[in-house]
Protein backbone atom coordinates (compact mmCIF):
# COMPACT_ATOMS: atom_id res chain seq x y z
CA UNK A 1 0.00 0.00 0.00
CA UNK A 2 1.18 3.49 -0.86
CA UNK A 3 2.62 5.08 2.27
CA UNK A 4 0.84 8.29 1.35
CA UNK A 5 -2.54 6.63 0.99
CA UNK A 6 -5.26 8.82 2.41
CA UNK A 7 -8.89 8.05 2.91
CA UNK A 8 -10.20 11.53 2.08
CA UNK A 9 -10.82 12.04 -1.62
CA UNK A 10 -12.53 14.45 -4.02
CA UNK A 11 -15.76 13.61 -5.78
CA UNK A 12 -14.93 15.64 -8.85
CA UNK A 13 -18.47 15.90 -10.13
CA UNK A 14 -19.60 17.81 -7.06
CA UNK A 15 -16.62 20.13 -6.83
CA UNK A 16 -17.31 23.66 -8.04
CA UNK A 17 -13.70 24.76 -7.60
CA UNK A 18 -14.48 27.18 -4.78
CA UNK A 19 -11.73 28.09 -2.31
CA UNK A 20 -13.28 26.96 0.97
CA UNK A 21 -11.33 23.75 1.44
CA UNK A 22 -7.94 25.08 0.35
CA UNK A 23 -8.16 27.72 3.06
CA UNK A 24 -9.28 25.28 5.74
CA UNK A 25 -6.68 22.61 5.12
CA UNK A 26 -4.15 22.77 7.98
CA UNK A 27 -1.29 21.27 5.96
CA UNK A 28 -2.05 23.24 2.77
CA UNK A 29 -2.62 19.99 0.93
CA UNK A 30 -5.30 21.14 -1.52
CA UNK A 31 -4.95 23.09 -4.78
CA UNK A 32 -7.67 24.13 -7.16
CA UNK A 33 -6.46 23.08 -10.59
CA UNK A 34 -8.62 23.17 -13.69
CA UNK A 35 -11.56 24.09 -11.54
CA UNK A 36 -11.27 21.15 -9.13
CA UNK A 37 -9.93 21.07 -5.58
CA UNK A 38 -7.40 18.26 -5.75
CA UNK A 39 -5.68 16.73 -2.74
CA UNK A 40 -1.88 16.40 -2.74
CA UNK A 41 -1.45 12.92 -1.27
CA UNK A 42 1.89 13.47 0.43
CA UNK A 43 0.60 16.47 2.39
CA UNK A 44 -2.78 15.04 3.44
CA UNK A 45 -3.08 13.84 7.03
CA UNK A 46 -6.72 12.73 6.80
CA UNK A 47 -7.96 15.22 9.38
CA UNK A 48 -11.30 15.68 7.64
CA UNK A 49 -11.26 19.50 7.78
CA UNK A 50 -12.06 19.68 4.06
CA UNK A 51 -14.96 17.28 4.52
CA UNK A 52 -16.35 19.71 7.11
CA UNK A 53 -15.64 22.78 4.99
CA UNK A 54 -17.08 21.65 1.67
CA UNK A 55 -20.58 22.92 1.11
CA UNK A 56 -20.95 20.88 -2.06
CA UNK A 57 -20.20 17.64 -0.19
CA UNK A 58 -17.50 16.99 -2.73
CA UNK A 59 -14.98 15.73 -0.17
CA UNK A 60 -15.63 12.23 1.02
CA UNK A 61 -13.69 9.29 2.42
CA UNK A 62 -12.97 5.78 1.27
CA UNK A 63 -14.29 2.95 3.41
CA UNK A 64 -15.89 -0.44 3.03
CA UNK A 65 -19.37 -1.28 1.94
CA UNK A 66 -21.29 -3.26 4.49
CA UNK A 67 -23.17 -5.52 2.10
CA UNK A 68 -20.60 -5.92 -0.63
CA UNK A 69 -17.63 -6.56 1.60
CA UNK A 70 -19.09 -8.32 4.58
CA UNK A 71 -21.95 -10.62 3.77
CA UNK A 72 -20.80 -14.18 3.16
CA UNK A 73 -17.11 -13.37 3.28
CA UNK A 74 -16.26 -14.63 6.75
CA UNK A 75 -17.51 -17.51 8.85
CA UNK A 76 -17.26 -15.59 12.07
CA UNK A 77 -17.47 -11.83 12.43
CA UNK A 78 -16.58 -9.63 15.35
CA UNK A 79 -17.70 -6.00 15.60
CA UNK A 80 -15.44 -3.52 17.36
CA UNK A 81 -17.60 -0.47 18.08
CA UNK A 82 -15.77 2.76 18.83
CA UNK A 83 -16.51 4.30 22.22
CA UNK A 84 -18.28 7.02 20.32
CA UNK A 85 -20.93 4.78 18.73
CA UNK A 86 -23.06 4.61 21.89
CA UNK A 87 -23.17 8.42 22.07
CA UNK A 88 -24.91 8.73 18.70
CA UNK A 89 -28.38 7.54 19.65
CA UNK A 90 -31.21 9.21 21.51
CA UNK A 91 -32.61 7.55 24.61
CA UNK A 92 -29.93 4.90 24.75
CA UNK A 93 -28.87 4.54 28.35
CA UNK A 94 -27.41 1.06 28.39
CA UNK A 95 -24.50 0.19 26.12
CA UNK A 96 -25.51 -3.48 26.35
CA UNK A 97 -28.56 -2.68 24.21
CA UNK A 98 -26.30 -1.39 21.46
CA UNK A 99 -23.95 -4.35 21.74
CA UNK A 100 -26.89 -6.77 21.63
CA UNK A 101 -28.25 -4.95 18.58
CA UNK A 102 -24.92 -5.43 16.79
CA UNK A 103 -25.23 -9.17 17.36
CA UNK A 104 -28.80 -9.17 16.13
CA UNK A 105 -27.55 -7.40 13.03
CA UNK A 106 -25.45 -10.42 12.24
CA UNK A 107 -22.16 -10.09 14.07
CA UNK A 108 -21.16 -13.22 15.95
CA UNK A 109 -19.43 -11.34 18.69
CA UNK A 110 -18.75 -7.78 19.81
CA UNK A 111 -15.91 -6.24 21.73
CA UNK A 112 -15.87 -2.62 22.79
CA UNK A 113 -12.78 -0.72 21.65
CA UNK A 114 -12.96 0.92 25.08
CA UNK A 115 -11.86 -2.31 26.73
CA UNK A 116 -8.60 -2.26 24.78
CA UNK A 117 -8.23 1.41 25.68
CA UNK A 118 -8.23 0.39 29.34
CA UNK A 119 -5.31 -1.94 28.75
CA UNK A 120 -3.52 0.89 26.96
CA UNK A 121 -4.21 3.22 29.89
CA UNK A 122 -2.47 0.80 32.26
CA UNK A 123 0.46 0.33 29.91
CA UNK A 124 0.74 4.07 29.26
CA UNK A 125 1.06 4.67 32.97
CA UNK A 126 3.95 2.23 33.13
CA UNK A 127 5.56 3.66 30.01
CA UNK A 128 5.46 7.23 31.34
CA UNK A 129 6.96 6.16 34.65
CA UNK A 130 9.76 4.28 32.90
CA UNK A 131 10.69 6.92 30.32
CA UNK A 132 11.31 10.10 32.22
CA UNK A 133 13.89 11.20 29.65
CA UNK A 134 11.19 11.26 26.98
CA UNK A 135 8.71 13.45 28.81
CA UNK A 136 6.37 14.79 27.76
CA UNK A 137 5.11 11.57 26.25
CA UNK A 138 2.72 12.25 23.38
CA UNK A 139 -0.30 10.00 22.88
CA UNK A 140 -0.81 8.11 19.63
CA UNK A 141 -4.50 7.26 19.67
CA UNK A 142 -5.26 9.75 16.90
CA UNK A 143 -3.75 8.61 13.58
CA UNK A 144 -4.05 12.10 12.14
CA UNK A 145 -1.71 13.43 14.82
CA UNK A 146 0.66 10.58 13.96
CA UNK A 147 0.57 11.52 10.29
CA UNK A 148 1.06 15.19 11.13
CA UNK A 149 4.14 14.49 13.25
CA UNK A 150 5.47 12.18 10.55
CA UNK A 151 5.60 14.99 8.00
CA UNK A 152 6.13 18.10 10.12
CA UNK A 153 7.61 17.42 13.55
CA UNK A 154 10.51 14.98 13.23
CA UNK A 155 12.10 16.04 16.49
CA UNK A 156 9.02 14.89 18.41
CA UNK A 157 8.95 11.34 17.06
CA UNK A 158 10.92 10.03 20.04
CA UNK A 159 8.29 11.44 22.39
CA UNK A 160 5.50 9.42 20.82
CA UNK A 161 3.95 6.66 22.86
CA UNK A 162 4.86 3.63 20.72
CA UNK A 163 1.41 2.06 21.16
CA UNK A 164 -1.24 1.02 18.68
CA UNK A 165 -4.56 2.81 18.54
CA UNK A 166 -7.13 1.11 20.83
CA UNK A 167 -9.00 -0.36 17.84
CA UNK A 168 -5.85 -2.20 16.70
CA UNK A 169 -5.20 -3.61 20.15
CA UNK A 170 -8.85 -4.63 20.35
CA UNK A 171 -8.61 -6.33 16.95
CA UNK A 172 -5.61 -8.39 18.00
CA UNK A 173 -7.25 -9.57 21.19
CA UNK A 174 -10.60 -10.14 19.48
CA UNK A 175 -9.04 -12.28 16.77
CA UNK A 176 -7.30 -14.53 19.27
CA UNK A 177 -10.46 -14.76 21.32
CA UNK A 178 -12.47 -15.74 18.23
CA UNK A 179 -9.93 -18.33 17.13
CA UNK A 180 -9.87 -19.95 20.55
CA UNK A 181 -13.63 -19.95 20.77
CA UNK A 182 -14.37 -21.31 17.29
CA UNK A 183 -11.25 -23.19 16.26
CA UNK A 184 -11.46 -21.41 12.91
CA UNK A 185 -8.34 -20.26 11.06
CA UNK A 186 -7.59 -16.56 11.13
CA UNK A 187 -8.72 -15.88 7.55
CA UNK A 188 -12.23 -17.12 8.31
CA UNK A 189 -12.62 -14.52 11.01
CA UNK A 190 -13.62 -10.99 10.08
CA UNK A 191 -12.78 -8.12 12.42
CA UNK A 192 -14.89 -5.07 11.68
CA UNK A 193 -14.14 -1.73 13.29
CA UNK A 194 -16.86 0.91 13.46
CA UNK A 195 -14.97 4.19 13.26
CA UNK A 196 -15.80 7.85 13.93
CA UNK A 197 -13.30 9.15 11.36
CA UNK A 198 -11.59 8.47 8.01
CA UNK A 199 -8.17 8.73 9.61
CA UNK A 200 -8.51 5.28 11.10
CA UNK A 201 -9.28 3.88 7.67
CA UNK A 202 -5.84 5.02 6.59
CA UNK A 203 -4.30 3.65 9.77
CA UNK A 204 -5.60 0.21 8.80
CA UNK A 205 -4.99 0.32 5.05
CA UNK A 206 -1.66 2.07 4.94
CA UNK A 207 -0.12 1.16 8.30
CA UNK A 208 2.80 3.29 9.40
CA UNK A 209 3.95 1.46 12.49
CA UNK A 210 3.16 -2.16 11.67
CA UNK A 211 3.24 -4.44 8.65
CA UNK A 212 -0.39 -5.43 8.61
CA UNK A 213 -3.40 -4.42 10.64
CA UNK A 214 -5.55 -7.10 12.24
CA UNK A 215 -8.63 -5.07 11.39
CA UNK A 216 -10.20 -6.45 8.22
CA UNK A 217 -12.71 -3.72 7.59
CA UNK A 218 -13.57 -0.22 8.68
CA UNK A 219 -17.10 1.09 8.58
CA UNK A 220 -18.08 4.62 9.48
CA UNK A 221 -20.46 5.27 12.37
CA UNK A 222 -22.82 6.93 9.91
CA UNK A 223 -22.70 3.89 7.59
CA UNK A 224 -24.10 1.66 10.27
CA UNK A 225 -26.37 4.13 12.04
CA UNK A 226 -29.51 3.67 10.00
CA UNK A 227 -29.08 -0.08 9.72
CA UNK A 228 -28.77 -0.59 13.43
CA UNK A 229 -31.76 1.53 14.51
CA UNK A 230 -34.46 -1.16 14.07
CA UNK A 231 -32.29 -3.71 15.90
CA UNK A 232 -31.99 -1.42 18.91
CA UNK A 233 -35.67 -1.80 19.58
CA UNK A 234 -35.52 -5.56 19.24
CA UNK A 235 -32.45 -5.73 21.46
CA UNK A 236 -34.31 -4.13 24.34
CA UNK A 237 -36.54 -7.21 24.63
CA UNK A 238 -33.64 -9.41 25.59
CA UNK A 239 -30.50 -7.53 26.53
CA UNK A 240 -27.31 -9.58 26.70
CA UNK A 241 -24.52 -8.57 29.04
CA UNK A 242 -21.74 -7.99 26.53
CA UNK A 243 -19.89 -5.10 28.12
CA UNK A 244 -16.15 -5.28 28.27
CA UNK A 245 -15.39 -1.64 29.05
CA UNK A 246 -15.68 0.47 32.17
CA UNK A 247 -15.70 4.24 32.35
CA UNK A 248 -11.97 4.58 31.78
CA UNK A 249 -12.25 3.07 28.31
CA UNK A 250 -15.40 4.98 27.53
CA UNK A 251 -13.83 8.34 28.36
CA UNK A 252 -11.27 7.88 25.56
CA UNK A 253 -14.01 8.99 23.20
CA UNK A 254 -13.59 12.62 24.19
CA UNK A 255 -10.65 14.98 24.56
CA UNK A 256 -9.02 14.71 27.97
CA UNK A 257 -10.48 11.26 28.48
CA UNK A 258 -7.27 9.40 27.86
CA UNK A 259 -5.67 11.25 30.74
CA UNK A 260 -8.54 10.17 33.02
CA UNK A 261 -7.18 6.63 33.03
CA UNK A 262 -3.71 7.78 34.00
CA UNK A 263 -4.56 9.46 37.31
CA UNK A 264 -2.03 11.96 36.13
CA UNK A 265 -2.02 15.57 37.19
CA UNK A 266 0.61 17.04 34.92
CA UNK A 267 -0.89 16.53 31.51
CA UNK A 268 -2.20 18.73 28.71
CA UNK A 269 -5.15 17.72 26.55
CA UNK A 270 -5.50 19.55 23.25
CA UNK A 271 -8.15 19.04 20.60
CA UNK A 272 -8.81 20.57 17.18
CA UNK A 273 -6.17 20.31 14.48
CA UNK A 274 -5.06 23.94 14.56
CA UNK A 275 -4.59 23.91 18.33
CA UNK A 276 -2.75 20.61 17.97
CA UNK A 277 -0.32 22.16 15.47
CA UNK A 278 0.23 25.11 17.79
CA UNK A 279 1.03 22.91 20.78
CA UNK A 280 3.35 20.73 18.68
CA UNK A 281 5.22 23.86 17.61
CA UNK A 282 5.55 24.82 21.27
CA UNK A 283 6.66 21.34 22.27
CA UNK A 284 9.24 21.36 19.51
CA UNK A 285 10.63 24.64 20.81
CA UNK A 286 10.65 23.29 24.37
CA UNK A 287 8.30 26.02 25.52
CA UNK A 288 6.30 23.56 27.59
CA UNK A 289 7.86 22.38 30.80
CA UNK A 290 7.00 20.09 33.66
CA UNK A 291 4.45 18.10 31.71
CA UNK A 292 4.53 14.32 31.64
CA UNK A 293 1.82 13.54 29.15
CA UNK A 294 0.28 15.34 26.20
CA UNK A 295 -3.02 14.09 24.82
CA UNK A 296 -3.73 15.28 21.29
CA UNK A 297 -6.88 14.79 19.24
CA UNK A 298 -7.25 16.25 15.75
CA UNK A 299 -11.02 16.65 15.95
CA UNK A 300 -12.68 19.31 18.07
CA UNK A 301 -13.79 17.62 21.27
CA UNK A 302 -11.87 14.44 20.49
CA UNK A 303 -13.32 11.38 18.72
CA UNK A 304 -16.89 12.57 19.37
CA UNK A 305 -16.04 15.25 16.79
CA UNK A 306 -15.15 12.78 14.03
CA UNK A 307 -16.58 13.47 10.57
CA UNK A 308 -18.18 10.05 10.22
CA UNK A 309 -20.40 10.61 13.23
CA UNK A 310 -24.03 11.65 13.20
CA UNK A 311 -24.54 13.46 16.48
CA UNK A 312 -23.44 16.97 17.36
CA UNK A 313 -20.04 16.56 19.08
CA UNK A 314 -21.07 18.47 22.19
CA UNK A 315 -24.26 16.49 22.60
CA UNK A 316 -22.36 13.27 21.95
CA UNK A 317 -19.83 14.21 24.60
CA UNK A 318 -22.57 14.84 27.15
CA UNK A 319 -24.18 11.50 26.36
CA UNK A 320 -20.86 9.72 26.60
CA UNK A 321 -20.10 11.19 30.00
CA UNK A 322 -23.57 10.38 31.25
CA UNK A 323 -23.24 6.79 30.15
CA UNK A 324 -19.75 6.47 31.61
CA UNK A 325 -21.08 7.55 34.97
CA UNK A 326 -22.21 4.61 37.01
CA UNK A 327 -19.95 2.18 35.19
CA UNK A 328 -17.16 0.44 37.05
CA UNK A 329 -13.73 1.98 36.52
CA UNK A 330 -12.58 -0.79 34.26
CA UNK A 331 -13.62 -4.23 33.09
CA UNK A 332 -10.46 -5.23 31.35
CA UNK A 333 -9.98 -8.29 33.59
CA UNK A 334 -12.80 -9.83 31.57
CA UNK A 335 -10.61 -9.84 28.48
CA UNK A 336 -8.11 -12.48 27.49
CA UNK A 337 -4.61 -11.90 28.74
CA UNK A 338 -2.94 -9.51 26.36
CA UNK A 339 0.50 -9.73 24.82
CA UNK A 340 3.12 -7.06 24.13
CA UNK A 341 2.48 -7.29 20.38
CA UNK A 342 -1.14 -6.29 21.00
CA UNK A 343 0.14 -2.98 22.26
CA UNK A 344 3.56 -2.05 20.93
CA UNK A 345 4.36 -0.73 17.46
CA UNK A 346 6.21 -3.15 15.26
CA UNK A 347 8.40 -0.40 13.86
CA UNK A 348 9.30 3.18 14.59
CA UNK A 349 7.56 6.02 12.82
CA UNK A 350 9.69 7.33 9.94
CA UNK A 351 10.03 11.03 9.23
CA UNK A 352 8.83 11.91 5.72
CA UNK A 353 10.13 15.35 4.71
CA UNK A 354 7.37 15.90 2.17
CA UNK A 355 7.49 19.67 2.53
CA UNK A 356 11.15 19.79 1.51
CA UNK A 357 11.26 21.74 -1.73
CA UNK A 358 13.97 19.94 -3.68
CA UNK A 359 15.55 16.52 -3.86
CA UNK A 360 18.77 17.59 -2.22
CA UNK A 361 19.76 20.04 0.47
CA UNK A 362 21.46 22.38 -2.02
CA UNK A 363 18.58 22.25 -4.47
CA UNK A 364 16.07 22.94 -1.68
CA UNK A 365 17.99 25.96 -0.49
CA UNK A 366 18.20 27.43 -3.97
CA UNK A 367 14.50 26.78 -4.48
CA UNK A 368 13.61 28.45 -1.18
CA UNK A 369 15.61 31.51 -2.21
CA UNK A 370 13.77 31.63 -5.52
CA UNK A 371 10.43 31.17 -3.78
CA UNK A 372 11.20 34.03 -1.39
CA UNK A 373 12.05 36.34 -4.28
CA UNK A 374 8.95 35.30 -6.15
CA UNK A 375 6.72 35.73 -3.11
CA UNK A 376 7.84 39.36 -2.96
CA UNK A 377 6.16 39.90 -6.31
CA UNK A 378 2.82 38.50 -5.19
CA UNK A 379 0.39 40.84 -3.46
CA UNK A 380 0.42 38.98 -0.13
CA UNK A 381 -3.37 38.82 0.00
CA UNK A 382 -3.52 35.03 0.32
CA UNK A 383 -6.72 35.27 -1.71
CA UNK A 384 -6.55 31.75 -3.07
CA UNK A 385 -7.61 32.72 -6.59
CA UNK A 386 -4.54 31.02 -8.04
CA UNK A 387 -5.74 27.78 -6.48
CA UNK A 388 -3.07 27.74 -3.77
CA UNK A 389 -3.98 28.63 -0.17
CA UNK A 390 -1.38 31.38 0.29
CA UNK A 391 1.15 33.44 -1.64
CA UNK A 392 3.93 31.47 0.06
CA UNK A 393 2.41 28.14 -1.08
CA UNK A 394 1.90 29.60 -4.55
CA UNK A 395 5.53 30.74 -4.77
CA UNK A 396 6.69 27.27 -3.74
CA UNK A 397 4.35 25.67 -6.28
CA UNK A 398 5.80 27.81 -9.06
CA UNK A 399 9.34 26.91 -8.03
CA UNK A 400 8.35 23.26 -7.87
CA UNK A 401 7.09 23.64 -11.43
CA UNK A 402 3.47 22.78 -10.63
CA UNK A 403 2.08 26.09 -11.85
CA UNK A 404 3.24 29.41 -13.32
CA UNK A 405 3.26 32.85 -11.76
CA UNK A 406 0.64 33.98 -14.25
CA UNK A 407 -1.84 31.93 -12.24
CA UNK A 408 -1.77 34.90 -9.87
CA UNK A 409 -4.61 37.06 -11.14
CA UNK A 410 -3.03 40.13 -9.59
CA UNK A 411 0.16 39.69 -11.59
CA UNK A 412 -1.90 39.00 -14.67
CA UNK A 413 -4.09 42.02 -13.99
CA UNK A 414 -1.02 44.24 -13.72
CA UNK A 415 0.27 42.87 -17.00
CA UNK A 416 -3.04 43.65 -18.67
CA UNK A 417 -3.00 47.16 -17.30
CA UNK A 418 0.50 47.75 -18.64
CA UNK A 419 -0.45 46.32 -21.97
CA UNK A 420 -3.59 48.42 -22.26
CA UNK A 421 -1.62 51.50 -21.23
CA UNK A 422 0.88 50.90 -24.04
CA UNK A 423 -1.92 50.24 -26.50
CA UNK A 424 -3.79 53.43 -25.69
CA UNK A 425 -0.62 55.50 -25.70
CA UNK A 426 0.18 54.10 -29.07
CA UNK A 427 -3.31 54.83 -30.39
CA UNK A 428 -3.42 58.37 -28.97
CA UNK A 429 -0.03 59.30 -30.34
CA UNK A 430 -1.00 58.35 -33.84
CA UNK A 431 -1.52 61.59 -35.73
CA UNK A 432 -0.72 60.76 -39.32
CA UNK A 433 -3.50 61.51 -41.71
CA UNK A 434 -2.27 59.31 -44.44
CA UNK A 435 -4.13 56.25 -45.48
CA UNK A 436 -3.16 53.18 -47.44
CA UNK A 437 0.47 54.04 -46.96
CA UNK A 438 3.01 51.62 -45.60
CA UNK A 439 3.06 53.56 -42.34
CA UNK A 440 -0.68 53.11 -41.99
CA UNK A 441 -0.37 49.37 -42.57
CA UNK A 442 2.26 49.18 -39.85
CA UNK A 443 -0.03 51.00 -37.47
CA UNK A 444 -2.88 48.57 -38.12
CA UNK A 445 -0.52 45.61 -37.69
CA UNK A 446 0.83 46.84 -34.33
CA UNK A 447 -2.66 47.57 -33.02
CA UNK A 448 -3.72 44.06 -33.96
CA UNK A 449 -0.78 42.61 -32.09
CA UNK A 450 -1.71 44.52 -28.95
CA UNK A 451 -5.30 43.34 -29.13
CA UNK A 452 -4.26 39.75 -29.71
CA UNK A 453 -1.86 39.83 -26.80
CA UNK A 454 -4.56 41.21 -24.53
CA UNK A 455 -7.02 38.57 -25.65
CA UNK A 456 -4.52 35.85 -24.88
CA UNK A 457 -3.95 37.26 -21.41
CA UNK A 458 -7.67 37.52 -20.77
CA UNK A 459 -8.03 33.92 -21.86
CA UNK A 460 -5.32 32.97 -19.42
CA UNK A 461 -7.26 34.79 -16.73
CA UNK A 462 -10.18 32.45 -17.43
CA UNK A 463 -7.96 29.41 -17.19
CA UNK A 464 -6.48 30.60 -13.94
CA UNK A 465 -9.58 31.37 -12.01
CA UNK A 466 -10.99 28.34 -13.71
CA UNK A 467 -14.36 28.19 -12.00
CA UNK A 468 -16.24 25.93 -14.27
CA UNK A 469 -19.90 25.14 -14.26
CA UNK A 470 -20.63 21.87 -12.61
CA UNK A 471 -20.56 19.16 -15.22
CA UNK A 472 -23.35 16.68 -15.02
CA UNK A 473 -23.61 13.48 -16.90
CA UNK A 474 -26.53 13.45 -19.28
CA UNK A 475 -29.79 12.50 -17.67
CA UNK A 476 -28.20 11.64 -14.36
CA UNK A 477 -29.90 12.87 -11.24
CA UNK A 478 -27.66 14.63 -8.81
CA UNK A 479 -28.67 15.56 -5.32
CA UNK A 480 -25.40 17.32 -4.59
CA UNK A 481 -24.75 15.10 -1.60
CA UNK A 482 -22.00 13.03 -3.09
CA UNK A 483 -22.27 9.47 -4.24
CA UNK A 484 -22.15 7.67 -0.93
CA UNK A 485 -18.62 7.91 0.34
CA UNK A 486 -18.21 4.24 -0.22
CA UNK A 487 -15.41 4.34 -2.69
CA UNK A 488 -13.73 1.00 -3.19
CA UNK A 489 -10.85 0.23 -0.98
Amino acid sequence: MDKFFHSVFLEEENCTGCYNCIKKCPTQAIRVREGKARVISEFCIDCGECVRACQQHAKSSRRHKLKRDLVGRYEYMVALPSQVLCSQFNHLDDVNILLTALKLMGFDDVMEVGSAAEILSEETKKYIAGHQGLWPVINTACPTVLRLIRVRFPSLIDHLLPFHIPAETAARIARRRAMEKTGLPSEKIGIVYISPCPSKVSYVHAPLVMDKSEIDMVLGVKDIYRIILPYLEEAQKQVEDLRTSGFVGMEWGRSGGEAVGLDEESYIAVDGIRSVIKILEDLEDEKIERVQFVELNACDGGCVGGVLNIENPFVARAKLLKMAKGLPRTKREELLPYRPEDIYWEKKLQYEPVFQLGHSFVESMVMMKQAEELKGRFPGLDCGCCGAPSCQAMAEDVIRGITTENACIHILKDRLHTLSKYASEFANNWDADVSNTEEYQNYIETTKQYINKMSRDIEELDNTIGVKKRVRKDGEEHDGKGTSGEEDL
Binding site: E281, D285, F361, E396
Partner: protein, 142 residues
Protein backbone atom coordinates in the same frame (compact mmCIF):
# COMPACT_ATOMS: atom_id res chain seq x y z
CA UNK B 1 31.54 32.13 7.28
CA UNK B 2 30.33 31.07 3.86
CA UNK B 3 28.14 33.33 1.84
CA UNK B 4 24.51 33.37 2.93
CA UNK B 5 22.23 31.91 0.33
CA UNK B 6 19.12 33.34 1.84
CA UNK B 7 18.60 36.33 4.06
CA UNK B 8 15.38 36.76 6.04
CA UNK B 9 14.28 39.85 7.94
CA UNK B 10 11.78 40.20 10.74
CA UNK B 11 10.43 43.02 12.81
CA UNK B 12 9.65 42.20 16.44
CA UNK B 13 6.90 44.31 18.00
CA UNK B 14 7.39 45.62 21.53
CA UNK B 15 5.27 44.26 24.37
CA UNK B 16 3.45 41.82 22.15
CA UNK B 17 3.59 38.44 23.83
CA UNK B 18 0.96 37.03 21.50
CA UNK B 19 3.04 37.39 18.36
CA UNK B 20 6.41 36.80 19.98
CA UNK B 21 7.86 33.68 18.44
CA UNK B 22 6.43 34.26 14.98
CA UNK B 23 9.85 34.99 13.51
CA UNK B 24 11.50 31.89 14.95
CA UNK B 25 8.50 29.82 13.92
CA UNK B 26 8.76 31.08 10.33
CA UNK B 27 12.49 30.40 10.22
CA UNK B 28 11.86 26.93 11.60
CA UNK B 29 9.33 26.08 8.89
CA UNK B 30 11.57 27.42 6.16
CA UNK B 31 14.55 25.43 7.40
CA UNK B 32 12.42 22.29 7.34
CA UNK B 33 11.40 23.00 3.77
CA UNK B 34 15.05 23.43 2.89
CA UNK B 35 15.80 20.02 4.29
CA UNK B 36 17.92 21.03 7.28
CA UNK B 37 18.44 18.12 9.72
CA UNK B 38 15.77 18.14 12.48
CA UNK B 39 18.37 18.61 15.22
CA UNK B 40 19.74 21.76 13.55
CA UNK B 41 16.24 23.13 13.06
CA UNK B 42 15.50 22.56 16.71
CA UNK B 43 18.66 24.33 17.86
CA UNK B 44 17.94 27.35 15.67
CA UNK B 45 14.28 27.48 16.72
CA UNK B 46 14.92 27.28 20.45
CA UNK B 47 17.84 29.70 20.61
CA UNK B 48 16.19 32.18 18.29
CA UNK B 49 12.87 32.03 20.15
CA UNK B 50 14.62 32.84 23.42
CA UNK B 51 16.30 35.82 21.79
CA UNK B 52 13.06 36.96 20.23
CA UNK B 53 11.13 36.78 23.49
CA UNK B 54 13.94 38.67 25.23
CA UNK B 55 13.48 41.51 22.78
CA UNK B 56 9.82 41.65 23.75
CA UNK B 57 10.40 41.40 27.50
CA UNK B 58 13.43 43.64 27.97
CA UNK B 59 13.95 45.80 24.90
CA UNK B 60 11.18 47.49 22.97
CA UNK B 61 11.13 44.95 20.18
CA UNK B 62 13.70 45.17 17.42
CA UNK B 63 14.93 43.67 14.17
CA UNK B 64 16.08 40.17 13.36
CA UNK B 65 18.14 39.16 10.36
CA UNK B 66 18.70 35.50 9.65
CA UNK B 67 21.37 34.52 7.15
CA UNK B 68 21.12 30.96 5.98
CA UNK B 69 24.15 29.43 4.32
CA UNK B 70 25.29 25.98 3.34
CA UNK B 71 27.15 25.37 6.57
CA UNK B 72 25.55 27.62 9.15
CA UNK B 73 22.53 29.61 10.20
CA UNK B 74 23.34 33.01 11.63
CA UNK B 75 20.72 35.09 13.44
CA UNK B 76 21.42 38.67 14.39
CA UNK B 77 18.94 40.12 16.88
CA UNK B 78 19.24 43.86 17.25
CA UNK B 79 17.33 46.02 19.70
CA UNK B 80 17.45 49.58 21.00
CA UNK B 81 16.67 48.51 24.54
CA UNK B 82 18.28 49.39 27.87
CA UNK B 83 21.31 47.14 27.37
CA UNK B 84 22.46 44.35 29.69
CA UNK B 85 23.96 45.60 32.97
CA UNK B 86 25.85 42.47 33.92
CA UNK B 87 26.32 39.88 31.19
CA UNK B 88 27.98 37.45 33.59
CA UNK B 89 24.92 37.45 35.85
CA UNK B 90 22.51 37.34 32.92
CA UNK B 91 24.22 34.16 31.77
CA UNK B 92 23.45 32.43 35.09
CA UNK B 93 20.52 30.06 34.98
CA UNK B 94 17.57 31.47 36.87
CA UNK B 95 18.80 35.06 37.02
CA UNK B 96 16.24 37.51 35.65
CA UNK B 97 15.53 41.21 35.69
CA UNK B 98 12.05 40.71 34.24
CA UNK B 99 9.26 42.69 35.83
CA UNK B 100 6.63 41.15 38.11
CA UNK B 101 4.05 41.61 35.34
CA UNK B 102 6.15 39.66 32.87
CA UNK B 103 6.83 36.91 35.38
CA UNK B 104 3.14 36.59 36.14
CA UNK B 105 2.64 35.80 32.46
CA UNK B 106 4.97 32.86 32.77
CA UNK B 107 8.00 34.50 31.20
CA UNK B 108 11.20 35.73 32.80
CA UNK B 109 12.36 32.44 34.31
CA UNK B 110 15.94 33.47 33.80
CA UNK B 111 16.71 30.83 31.20
CA UNK B 112 16.86 33.07 28.14
CA UNK B 113 20.58 33.63 27.69
CA UNK B 114 21.61 30.25 29.12
CA UNK B 115 19.34 28.51 26.61
CA UNK B 116 20.58 30.66 23.75
CA UNK B 117 24.10 29.67 24.68
CA UNK B 118 23.17 26.02 25.11
CA UNK B 119 21.41 25.65 21.77
CA UNK B 120 23.80 27.68 19.63
CA UNK B 121 27.36 26.89 18.57
CA UNK B 122 28.46 30.48 18.90
CA UNK B 123 26.94 33.40 20.72
CA UNK B 124 28.13 36.97 20.75
CA UNK B 125 26.59 39.79 22.75
CA UNK B 126 27.31 43.45 22.02
CA UNK B 127 25.59 45.64 24.52
CA UNK B 128 25.73 49.25 25.56
CA UNK B 129 23.74 50.66 28.45
CA UNK B 130 20.98 52.92 27.22
CA UNK B 131 21.77 52.24 23.59
CA UNK B 132 20.84 48.65 22.89
CA UNK B 133 21.95 45.08 22.47
CA UNK B 134 22.90 43.00 19.46
CA UNK B 135 22.98 39.25 19.93
CA UNK B 136 24.52 37.06 17.26
CA UNK B 137 23.61 33.38 17.32
CA UNK B 138 25.31 30.85 15.07
CA UNK B 139 24.25 27.26 14.60
CA UNK B 140 26.62 25.20 12.46
CA UNK B 141 25.73 22.25 10.34
CA UNK B 142 28.87 20.21 10.71
Amino acid sequence: MSEALLSLHYHVSPDDFQTAGEASSDVKNKLKKMGFPPEIVRKVAISMYEGEINMVIHAYGGEITVDIGMDEVRAVLKDKGPGIQDIGKAMEAGYSTASEKVRSMGFGAGMGLPNMKKYSDEMKIDTEIGVGTTVTLVVRLA
